[in-house]
């Protein structure tokens, strides 16, 4: 079936009030995306620089994301109730409703990551960072590209995000045996190693949520559901 890919920004509604409501919704989703990206950046920095203060201040910022989630949900309900959107508008609204859940979860995972970092900062050193910096970098770039794809309505870019999830999974698979080996050779690092393992897992989950966002963007643009397409899908 020939699918048209729409550039929503180029085509305006006859009803300018409706146009404004959609623009406002879009702007709030982008703001929430930007906040979540910031949160992830500072979580990773807190980890790499062993900065307990930064970890704690990042945790305190999470409520902004929760507030935005509720605001966006409310806006979506308003538009659904008042406008009965169809076609690309309907796909945009339903995408926004689901996307904010993924963003909010990413925020929560950053909180979890910062909690573990704060705990680890009470000890003198990390046992090993292993592939965690690489996992973090890959997951963050997936999140960034997924949000870019949302802004641009770029389904191809979104598909590429979805395809990159297996890389993060592969990095995470390396982390587990590496940490187990450390724990076996030196029982004093067991506690710290389990914290590191958790951090790796949180980031791997963040990549899963970025993948979800990529899949949602493909649906928004093409009207095509690409979720649960293969055995690799675990989100």
């Amino acid at each position: 079936m020939a699918m048209l890919e729409y550039q929503m920004a180029d085509r305006r509604h006859t009803d300018r009030e409706y146009e404004n409501e959609l623009a406002q919704l879009r702007e709030r989703v982008l703001l929430m995306g930007a906040r979540v990206e910031e949160m992830m950046t500072s979580s990773r920095r807190a980890f790499s620089e062993r900065d307990g203060d930064l970890a704690r201040s990042t945790i305190r910022n999470d409520h902004q994301i929760d507030t935005l989630e509720m605001e966006i949900d409310e806006l979506c309900l308003q538009v659904l109730a008042r406008r009965q959107p169809v076609a690309s508008d309907l796909r945009f609204i339903t995408t926004a409703l689901k996307l904010v859940t993924d963003l909010e979860r990413i925020g929560d995972l950053c909180v979890n990551m910062c909690e573990r970092v704060a705990e680890l900062c009470e000890d003198p050193t990390y046992p090993t960072q292993g592939p965690i910096p690489r996992i973090g970098e890959a997951a963050q770039s997936m999140l960034h590209d997924a949000l870019d794809a949302f802004v641009a309505g770029d389904a191809n870019k979104a598909e590429q995000v979805v395809q990159r999830d297996h890389m993060v999974d592969a990095y995470y698979a390396q982390l587990f045996p590496e940490l187990v080996a450390h724990m076996m050779s030196d029982p004093t690092v067991v506690f710290r190693s389990t914290r590191m393992l958790s951090i790796g897992k949180y980031i791997e989950r963040i990549a899963d949520h970025a993948t979800n966002i990529g899949e949602l963007v493909v649906f928004m643009v093409r009207g095509q559901d690409v979720r649960h397409m293969g055995p690799a899908s675990n989100a």
Binding site: M1, A2, M3, L4, Y6, R11, R12, H13, T14, D15, Y18, R56, I59, D62, Q84, P85, V86, A87, S88, D89, L90, R91, R105, D108, L109, V111, N112, E115, A118, E119, F176, F191, T194, R195, L197, S198, K201, R205, R222, G223, Q224
Partner: protein, 313 residues
Amino acid sequence: MNVERPTNLTQKTAKKMDVDAESSPAIRSANDKARLEAVEPASAPQPELNSKPRWDEVSVSEITPKMRTEGLHASFGASEVLKGISLPIAEKLVTAIIGPSGCGKSTFIRCLNRMHEVVPGATAKGKVLLDKQDIYDRDVDPVRVRGRVGMVFQKPNPFPTMSIRDNVLAGLRLNGVKMADPDGQVERALRQVALWEEVKDRLAKAGTSLSGGQQQRMCIARALALEPEVLLMDEPCSALDPIATARVEELIHELRESYTIVIVTHNMQQAARVANFTAFFYLGQLVEYNRTPVIFTRPNEQRTEDYITGRFG
């Protein structure tokens, strides 16, 4: 898998180790298997997930048509209103025609029972097949066609001097049908439109004494009394309040069991609610014809998208 909610920093650690141990793929799959077996014996009957309604499996190209237009052109004098419409109309299903004012949708359905030609200067060419017979053939009697293809109009149009009973029988009388059991026919027709209980004690009262919604259902009963095979509805709810509209829509759902229905509507939500297939007309042309869920969630044509989302002009 559950994601941990934000917790405070002092939360102790033993529980978290469990969570992470569970994430190891081997342990996870063993756990999953044990859980699945606990809740679901292997022999448990599987619910049928694929029992979709019949029409949902049918694409436009697979429609079993009750009617079909082929290259239908219609004009008023020199102005051409329909520019070659080819459209199959699915049997015992609801087809909605949507499009902006002046796109030709009313003219289209008026061609389906030869009502178009009653306007002076109106002409039509092309084919309109009803059960494979062209209703525009020279030897076809248009009155007979209108008996098989009934019509309901935008505004309820009861005959003002007639009682409810006579209104229902008017179509039969005008067509010279001999009635063995007129009272039975009145009751049957009024029951079909769910109006019988409301009016059975005042059948001799004027049709105009009913509310707008009741009048419209009476007019549908008048069309049904002729036992048509196809029912054309030209914006049947545009003059009705939301409750009367809901009654007519419910009626359409019921009538679909026995009749082929074509409805013209300006109300897109109505098309989305009642129709199995939707055709979008623009400037006398058929832009897109598809299953209704496709039209309203992911139309293929930019003009359809623009119209239904309100991005026109």
